[in-house]
Structures are given as C-alpha cells and as structure tokens.
Symmetry: C2
Subunit: 438 residues, 2 copies
C-alpha cells in the first residue's frame, strides 16, 4: 500500500535510505548541501541511512592510475584502489553532518559487512549484515555508507561496477527494511519523455518497476538498470528526486520526485485518484545503437544461430532482429542492432565467420535511433502499436524495424528524425502538459 | 650479530621489509621505479614485504577536506578519510609488481589486521596478526601493506599520526621476524651532519638506536623518532637508504645506506674493523625551537611546577630549562625552550597563569638554534663537552644554555650562527672526510 509520503505531502515517521551521486558529492561545499538535505529528514523524525558515491571525476582518476600501473589490471587490486573514492566521501559526509550537530558515523563495506560474490570489479551483493546498522539508526545516528563497495568471502574489497551505488542504496534499503529509498540525482524525477526535446513533458508521480526498467534500458538514464531490478525483486519503494533544489533545500515531501512502485501500488494510486490511468507512461529514445545488415544469408535451419552465437559469446547485446525473406529463393537478409560501442568488434567477429554463416555483404549504419513507447496500461489495451505506426507515418517517418514486449513497442528510425518522432508520439498519446516543464 | 648484508656486500637469503615514503610513491612512474627496486630483492631470493606511504601531497589534500568539512573534526572519521591515501598506493604498487611478472597482493590494515589502541589519529600499534602474511610471503608473494593505518578494537579504521609509516614498517618487520627493515627515503643514509651545511660530512655505516633517537629528535629528520624507539624495543635491524639511485636501481647490498643497530652489534662492527670507534658520531642542529624567559619568578618550592604543569597538560614539549638565581633576593629568571609551533599557545597559557606563577615579564625569542653533539662513545670518555665549549668560544659563539644526556651535549645559540657552529664542531671532533660528500 501507498505510504502517504508523496500522496498527501505528509509523512509519518519512517526509516529512509537516501542516495547521493558523484555530482552531489563533488567537493566539501556540495557535501554540505547534501548534509543539510539529510539533516532535514532526520529533523522530521525519520531514521536515516545515506549511501554516497565518490566525488565526480575521482573514480575516473583512480581507474586511470590502475591502467597506468598495469594495463591488464588484477581486478582484486583495482577494487582496493577505486573503492577508496567512496571511503573518502562517506567520512567527509559524516564529518559534515557532525558539524551540523547530528550524530553520524560511516560504515565501510567491510565493516557492515556488505557480502558480495567474489567477481571483482563487477561483484553482486548477496547479503548485508544490518543488525548493528539498524541499532545505530535507532539510537538516532545517521549511518553513512559508501556505495559501490563490498566484501568478498575471502575478506577482500570488491566493487559492483560503474554506477553501482544505486544498487548499494537499494540493497541497504532492503536490508534495513526501509520505508523508502530516495535516490537524489541531477534530474528531479522521471518524465514522460526527455524535457530537453519536449518542453511539454510532464514529471511522473509514479512509474512501475517494469516501466522503469524499460525506460532505463532504452535511454532514460536516471537509475542504473540493475538497481531497478533489485528494487522490484525486494519490493523496495524507490523515489527519484533532485539534490539541486536551491541552497535552502526543501524536504522530499514538499517537492516530490517520481516514485517507482509495484503494479499493486500503482493500481491503488489510480483508484485513490492520485494518478490518472494512462495507456502510455513515457516515450524513450536511444541513439546509441547501430544497425547491421547481412545480405543473402542462406535461409536454412541453424543459419541464424551461426550469426548470433559468436556475438553472445563476446557479450555483445543484440537487440532488434528482422529477417526479410524474399528476393532470391533460399536466401534472406538479416538486420539487427548492437550498441554503437560494440559495432567494430561485432563486424570483425562476423567477418571471421563469413564462411560459416555464408552471407554476401555486411552493411552497417550507426545513424539510427530507437524510439520506444512504454506503459503497463498497454497490457490490457490493444491499439497502442497501431497508434504509433499511424502517427509516425502521418509525418513521413519511415520505420525500419519493430520490436515489442508486454509493456513496450520500439521502432528503429533514421537518427535525424529522433526529436520529431518523440514530439509526435508525445502528443499522439496525450502526454503533453499545459504547463511547460521547468 | 651482524648479518653480512652491508659488512661484506653479500647477502644470504633473508626476510626483508622495505618501506617507501610519499616522494617515492608520487605517481605511477615513481611507483614503477619502486617496483623495480622491490623486484630485485625478490629476484635475489629474499622474502619481501613492502610498506608504503600515500602519494606526496595526498594526505595534505585529504586533511584539508576534513578541515573544510568540520573544523573540530571527529578523529574516527578523519581516519576513514586520510587512510585512503595509503590504500590507493598499496593497490597500485601491487598492480605494478604484477605487471613486472611478480606475484603480489595488498594487505590493508583491517585485513591483517594491524591492531592498534583506539586513540584515533594518533593510534599506537599493539600487535599484528602475521601468520597469513608470513604464509603468503613464503609462497613467493610480495606483500604490499599500507603504512600509517590500523584497526581499533571496535573494528574501526585508525591512523598512527603523521610520519607513521616508518613505525608501521618496523612493526611489520618485528611481526614477521624480518632480518632487516630497509627504509627508503630521499636521503641515502645518516650523515655525521647535514651535508648541505658541511660538504665534508661523511655517511655513517652504522649508528646505534640511542644515537639515532638523539639525532632524529634534534633535527636529523631521516626517520620518525617513534619508529626508532620501536626498533630498539623489538630489536629490529633498520637500514636507511635512498630510493633515488638512478633508473637502474641497484640492490641495497651494492650501495648500502646506514644500519641502525644495537650497542652489541656496533661493538662487533668496531672489533671486526668495519667501523672506527668514534667519540662523537654526529652533529645535529634544530632551528624549530623558541626560547621563553619568565623574569622575576619567586624562588620558592613549587614555583617551577606552576610553570611547567599547564604546558605539559597542553602537550607542549619543554626542552632545555635554566634557572638564573641572582639579581633580587628570592627571585629568579626561568629560561626554557618549546617548539616554535607551540610558542603562541605556550605564551597564552602562561599569561593565563600569571598570578599563580607570579612572574614579572615574558620575553620570547624564536631566533635561536640548538646544536647537539651525539655519540655512544662519550659514555666512557670525559672531555666531550669541554671540547665543544672551547671550540665554540674560540669562534666567538655565545652559548645561551646547555643540556646533556648520557650520549648527547646540546647548546642553545643564536640562530644566525647555526651553520658556523656545525662546521666548527664537525672539524673539532675530527669528523671531516677527505672526499666531499655527494
């Protein structure tokens, strides 16, 4: 059920995990602003834990040191080096909170500990021993926890991979059974689409975990995808909100961000009249994919496996796939997308397998974009896809490929038409607000 | 007894702890040079542990962050922040050693652990659990250990105070029962006096712990005093040598530094003819003291206690003390020295106690220097002090105060005469070498 936090603007006493990213922690002045935001939550009577990233730029500096020391670095020692960035900011935030008169202390990954599987530099959190932490929070101490880091079974430092602090925050929230996990970012919530493209984009009061996963993975880079998956699995209520709300930071209940909730909670919201039921929640776009066409592939069983197995083995994510049978009998063109960053590597791998696959030409194109329409509402309503196709075709936008999931329809178009397509669809699904977004 | 290391230039297989300071660790290029020095020791068949400082400047940067965050910082959180500097360099040195084909791993203070008493920011090492460490060294892995840091009984990060990495190295050497603790610095050994003042200063093959303590505490800033005391207590043989010996670093046995040894070992050295017996080992100078004169203090029991108790309580070290009875009956002038950095604080404390102490005026002078003549030889030989007084008086240098210990005579003189006094004494005790020092 919905806690009253964002629904009514009030907030009963709660246990809250707050997370601040590297931009918010960049320097002692900004850390002071963060400390003021944290203090207000505690002053409101809540039990508070804070998860912090390293200062913006610091992790890059440390990663560069590792590369200079050893191009093929040992991830166990890499973790020792890079985990220090969050250690510094957690100590500094604890000091700053103390200077504001709060009781506060840092809890490093090995101190709690945050147990992870041993895969250094890309560890996964297995469990967090939270008893001491909860006891400390109940004594009124603000717990400051470095994100991104943990402890392996053999007592060594691990890190979760870049952007892992969101996941740390959600895992801590699950471990302390927090009422809410507030992720402070440099945006103030999740919008119906990118406000830099559509001035009439609306901030969403709430989205479901599944919608957020689709929005995050197609380019609405608000939260790390893995953290949303964990929140869904553990039932952690996540709120995305901004840490840049002026020097006189206001508490979260005065300026709510976007809540990320379960389907049930979303239904309750709609029934209470807090949210309107929408067919489509948001429009996402992604310019970071590239298209590969293999021409005249033999149209026989197993041919497609020859294409995609080597790519999977090289950890290259293939997204949209279309097979155009036609032209010559027994042959087909296969079109698919890969991340632009992997395009050269994918091309080289496919050239290596030219004989096995038996294609004629490789054609590549990185000037494409993927536009996605996302919404839980479309589970029970037909016609979402056809609305999309008609709206785009009415404006002369050519659809090169289509893919769908239960709550998403994506199309591939020419990159130059990205902004036009997003605006057209935002209007077509009735998402435009009357007020222009800030 | 003497191991053959520096006596003959050979070296049987040994267990060695090496320590490198912040200048040696300043950046990945310098760390690579350190790694090459370490590798040569391992290649010679030795078991090696390395203790490292933070990159030069890094600890200052972190201390400044703490001050900005909270002027009255909590030393427990200060320790969390500043200990990160050594964590970074230990990971980077392990990575660099690996890139040279060595097996290496870092062992953080909490991992061994290095147990300390709980006094944050000025902790003392109580014990080191070294079993795992020794086993790792015996497997041929180079152990890289961050200096300066430890773990308190309540599982929190501690640091040993500035310069604490020397002490870490000696403590690790004691714990692993090392044959030698090699401290690499930016000088190549201990000299009879400062070579910047006396070109004919000689590098000493060996000094005793007691001599080194006197030399270190009076301004020959080669080693942290505390580390020398610990080495004496634990019987750790320490060698001071330079890490700046060209890109093609030569092993320690080819270019020996100065060994710091027990009295017995020193006697053995002299009997073997490896060292000449000297009355005086070295001449030290210290310009960092200031003089305070309290005039017309009542000459009655307890008066002096009124002066020095408040200073002791404020942790201000008082060194030379002279009482000049005379002038008016029942009154005396009291002269003493304190570190220049504490002069203002001492003056304020004394002004507060003016009535209790009953002095007339406070006169201060920071333009003084302390010149010390140090040597175990003077234990059994008279005449060292009178040689000093005569040599100085022959050159018209006025002695303002005198203090002595078993192996040291110190005088206070005008700061402007420091260099002259050092040169005069170096010649007077026959310490000048024929070759000019490098």
């Amino acid at each position: 059920m919905l806690a009253p936090a964002y629904a009514t603007g009030g907030d009963s006493l709660a246990r809250i995990v707050m997370k601040f990213g590297g931009t918010s922690m960049a320097g002692t002045e900004r850390i002071r602003r963060v400390a003021n935001i944290v203090r207000k939550q505690q002053a409101a009577g809540h039990e508070v834990a804070v998860v912090v990233s390293a200062m913006a730029g610091e992790t890059d500096r440390l990663v560069n040191f590792c590369r200079e020391a050893n191009a093929l670095y040992d991830p166990a020692e890499y973790d020792v080096v890079v985990a220090s960035g969050e250690q510094v900011t957690s100590g500094l935030l604890a000091l700053t909170l103390q200077s504001l008169g709060c009781k506060a202390r840092s809890w490093l990954g090995w101190q709690l500990p945050i147990h992870t599987i041993e895969a250094h530099a890309k560890a996964r959190i297995e469990s967090i021993d939270a008893d001491e932490l909860i006891a400390s929070m109940q004594r009124g101490e603000i717990a400051v926890i470095p994100g991104f880091q943990g402890l392996s079974e053999d007592n060594r430092v691990t890190t979760l991979g870049r952007g892992g602090s969101d996941t740390s925050a959600v895992a801590v929230a699950a471990a302390v059974k927090a009422d809410r996990c507030d992720i402070y970012t440099d945006v103030d919530g999740v919008y119906t689409t990118d406000p830099r493209i559509v001035a009439k984009a609306r901030k969403l009061k709430a989205v479901t975990y599944e919608e957020m996963l689709e929005l995050a993975s197609v380019g609405a880079k608000v939260l790390q995808t893995r953290s949303v998956g964990l929140a869904m699995k553990e039932g952690v209520r996540v709120q995305v909100l901004s840490s840049f709300i002026g020097d006189d930071a206001v508490p979260a209940d005065d300026l709510p961000g976007t809540m990320i909730v379960s389907d049930d909670e979303m239904n309750a919201l709609v029934e209470n009249g807090d949210m309107e039921r929408q067919l489509v929640t948001g429009i996402a776009h992604d310019k970071n994919e590239a298209k590969i066409i293999l021409t005249r592939v033999p149209d026989k069983p197993g041919a497609v496996a020859h294409i995609f197995e080597p790519l999977a083995q090289a950890s290259i994510n293939v997204d949209m796939i279309i097979q155009n049978v036609g032209r010559d009998k027994g042959e087909t063109d296969v079109t698919f997308t890969v991340p632009q960053a992997d395009l050269a590597r994918a091309q080289a791998l496919l050239e290596d397998k030219r004989e096995e696959i038996g294609f004629n030409r490789i054609i590549t194109d990185s000037k494409i974009a993927k536009i996605s329409v996302v919404g839980v509402g479309m589970k029970s309503h037909a016609g979402v896809a056809s609305t999309m196709f008609r709206a785009l075709s009415d404006r002369g936008i050519n659809i090169q490929a289509i893919s769908t999931s239960e709550i998403k329809v994506s199309v591939m178009i020419d990159e130059d038409e990205t902004e036009l397509a997003v605006r057209v669809l935002h209007t077509a699904y009735g998402l435009d607000t009357d007020d222009e977004a800030a």
